[in-house]
C-alpha cells in the first residue's frame, strides 16, 4: 500500500471561526452576489459605498474523491441589504445524493432548505445546533443576529457545488427584517412566475 495520505490536524478557533492551517479561504463581497438580494438599488449603493465583505469560508481541501471529507467553517457578518439579512450564496450539491452537516458555533440565524419539488424548510440555528442537510436539498445560511454567525461544517469531498440555479431563482422564502424581527416572507421573484 503506497502513497497513503497522512493524517493531520487543524486548529478550529470556536470564537472566531478560523481554521489554521487552511489551504482554501474564500471571501464573498456584495459585488460577488449581484442579483442575489431583492433590493437592487440597495445592492448597488452598498457596493459603491465600499462593497462590504458578507462572509468568509475556510475550507480545508483534500482530494475531491468519494470517501474523503471537506472540513469548512463559515463566518457571515451581521447586516442587511435593504431589509434582507446577509446570507450565503446557497447551492445544491452537484452530486445531489450527498448530505452535509453544520454545527452552529456562534451567533444565530436560519438554515434555508429547498428541494426541486418545491418543499421548503427554515431551521433556526444557534450555538450547539447540529443541522443535517439530507441529499437533494439546496441550502443557504442567513445571519439574523447582531454579531457574526459562525458555523462548522463537514461534507463529502466529491459533492461539488451548483450555485447557478439558486442564483437565478433563490429560495421560495426570503428572510427580512419586519418590525425589528427576522421574518420569513414569500420570495416575490418566485411569485412572478
Amino acid at each position: 500500500m503506497v502513497g497513503l495520505m497522512a493524517p493531520f490536524t487543524i486548529e478550529l478557533d470556536f470564537k472566531r471561526g478560523v481554521l489554521h492551517p487552511c489551504n482554501n479561504i474564500i471571501q464573498r463581497h456584495l459585488s460577488d452576489m449581484r442579483g442575489t438580494y431583492l433590493d437592487e438599488a440597495a445592492t448597488e449603493e452598498a457596493i459603491e459605498g465600499g462593497d462590504p465583505l458578507l462572509y468568509e469560508v475556510y475550507q480545508y481541501d483534500v482530494p475531491f474523491e468519494n470517501g474523503q471529507l471537506l472540513v469548512v467553517t463559515s463566518i457571515i457578518q451581521p447586516g442587511k441589504v435593504g431589509d434582507e439579512y446577509y446570507m450565503t450564496k446557497g447551492h445544491f450539491h452537484e452530486k445531489e445524493e450527498t448530505a452535509e452537516v453544520y454545527v452552529g458555533l456562534r451567533g444565530r440565524g436560519y438554515l434555508l432548505l429547498e428541494t426541486r419539488g418545491g418543499e421548503f424548510k427554515a431551521l433556526p440555528v444557534e450555538p450547539g445546533t447540529v443541522t443535517y442537510i439530507p441529499p437533494y436539498w439546496a441550502h443557504r445560511m442567513v445571519n439574523t443576529g447582531q454579531e457574526e454567525f459562525i458555523f462548522f461544517g463537514v461534507y463529502p469531498a466529491d459533492a461539488g457545488h451548483n450555485y447557478g440555479e439558486i442564483e437565478v431563482r433563490g429560495f421560495s422564502k426570503v428572510v427580512v427584517e419586519r418590525d425589528g424581527q427576522p421574518t420569513l416572507v414569500p420570495n416575490p421573484k418566485r411569485e412572478e412566475r
Copy 2:
C-alpha cells in the same frame, strides 16, 4: 421526486458531549473490551469491582448509504486499566477508502492511527483540534487527562466498522502512565511476533 429525507436538527451539548435527540447510544464497559488492555489481571479485578463504564457514543443514525453522513460524539471517562489509559475499541472502516473527522470539545488525549503497512501516528487532541483521519487508517482515541475527553465526529454513513483486527493486534504503541505522564511505548503484543 418522492420520499426525500427531511432535514432535521440535533442539539449538541458542548460541555457534556450529549446529542439530543439521538437514536443510537452505545455504552462500553470494561467487560465489553476484554483482551484490549495489556494488564489482564487489572482488567479482571476492575470488572469484578464494578465493571466501569469506559466510554459512551452518541450517534445519530441515518440510512447507511453513500453520500449520507453520520454525526457522532464520544465521551471517554478518565481512568486507567493497569497503567494504560481508557480508550475506544479502535477500528478500521469496512469501506476502507472512507475518511473521518473528529473535533475535540473537552478534555485531552491522543488519536492513535495506523495503517496495515505498519505506519503509526499519535496526534494530540484538545478542545478545538480538528483531526483528519484519511482513508485506510485505523483509529483509536485515548483519554490522557483528568476529566472526560469529549469529541464530535462526522463520517460517511457507508463506512462501517471493522473492530476485529484491532482487538487482536492493537496498535503498535500503547499510551501508558510513566512518572505521572502519558507516554507512548511499544506494544509488547506486537513484539512477540
